[in-house]
Symmetry: C2
Subunit: 248 residues, 2 copies
């Protein structure tokens, strides 16, 4: 399984992914789920993937092959804007589906794949998209400034409550890490190392990209403190004494 | 959808269920998902259900029919212990499956149903079971003192962090309500009113059973305070300043 979250904020983009893939609990591997395409001062695109690893790897291989193409519809370094970038990825995914879909079906395997694409191309603000297995996609908005893919539910409540368009990049990164911690704690198949990537608006390059493993002091502090903070917050809320039924 | 959580604590049982069922978002109804069987001073059994409403209602109707039976294997008011109560429910569910399973399959519908059974029968401590669609079941333990069914993921992190066997009944009830709030906030298909039921150890009756609707002051307070507490706890954690990448 996988957990990735992408946030589109006034000041830029925050993207976080785990790196565990599994096919049964005795077959767990580490594969990066974040890839970026960068042409400094001109464009930066970040793609995170969840789903069947054979499918997502095929997609990435095709996207990389197309980087040598002159066609501005298939080459992510030449597409004129982020909408066309999302279309390009959707179309490439349909190529993979055309090739593999029927065979997978014969083996009773679903064609599962989903993606978060964030980035900025000169002339536009940063934009964030979620791309589905069918190659269609949606864009983040003022009201929905984040997308999640993979094992999304455990980590959703904290992002729902904290992240707005006006949240700073550094706080959004903290929130993404707490959301990831909740997911890792509840689901064995999501695991370290993590890829955290920030794109500051109008810098048109990767502002910062760090890998977070089990020795990362900050993440370890966050993990232990967040659990304690939650328990303290819980203690501070009043008990339902009104139940008044000798339950105290 | 549904969300139910049952907790088995040193001092007794806490059970909480929502009451929304839906078949598509334009078809939302309110049905109670909690039923109890009580013979004061002798036994108290509480059953919560999730899944296909036709299946869970059939099961309940059969269980109620069997209350007139002399057979100690099929009558929940006569089974000798909680293990046999769980078997009785599993067997009855298999009756429903025998009758409806094949037809449902023809309509491409899964036989989905899951249950949490909690209770105490004189001579035993309180016990808590989770019963699956196939009629098999597991029992809560020291290490796993709670079960959830339905839309379980949003509300799991807080229960994971707070509830132990030693948690008091009133705190467990508070935690169950916070867990429900996280679920309702993230999933439209889980909704009020809620059924909250507490069985204090060795009382051998329902200690307290309340219905919580949108006018319940305590639940409304919990909902608003918990959001604020989470945001405060979030603010108090240090930001990842070490990223050191002009992201502040």
């Amino acid at each position: 399984m996988t957990y990735c979250v992408g946030m589109s904020l006034e000041k830029g983009l925050v993207m976080l992914s785990d790196s565990r893939t599994n096919a049964g609990i005795d077959h767990i591997n580490t594969f990066r789920k974040m890839t970026y395409f960068e042409e400094p001062n001109e464009r930066v695109l970040v793609l995170m993937s969840a789903g069947n690893l054979a499918i997502t790897q095929s997609l990435l291989s095709l996207l990389k092959e197309h980087l040598h193409s002159e066609n501005p519809q298939t080459n992510l370094l030449r597409v004129p804007n982020m909408f066309e970038a999302a279309r390009c990825i959707g179309d490439t995914l349909r190529e993979v589906h055309k090739r593999d879909g029927a065979t997978l079906r014969e083996f009773n395997l679903d064609f599962t794949a989903s993606f978060i694409l964030g980035g900025q191309i000169k002339g536009e603000p940063p934009r964030l998209f979620q791309i589905y297995a069918a190659g269609n996609f949606i864009e983040a908005s003022e009201d929905t400034p984040f997308f999640q893919i993979g094992e999304i539910k455990y980590g959703k409540p904290i992002v729902d409550r904290v992240v707005k368009r006006s949240t700073s990049l550094i706080e959004a990164a903290k929130c993404a890490l707490i959301s990831m911690d909740s997911t890792i704690r509840s689901n064995l198949s999501v695991g370290l190392p993590l890829d955290l990537l920030i794109v500051r608006r109008d810098e048109l390059k990767i502002t910062c990209h760090v890998s977070i493993d089990q020795d990362n002091e900050y993440f370890n502090l966050l993990r232990s403190s967040w659990g304690n903070s939650l328990r303290e917050a819980f203690q501070q809320l009043p008990n339902p004494e009104w139940l008044n039924c000798s339950c105290q």
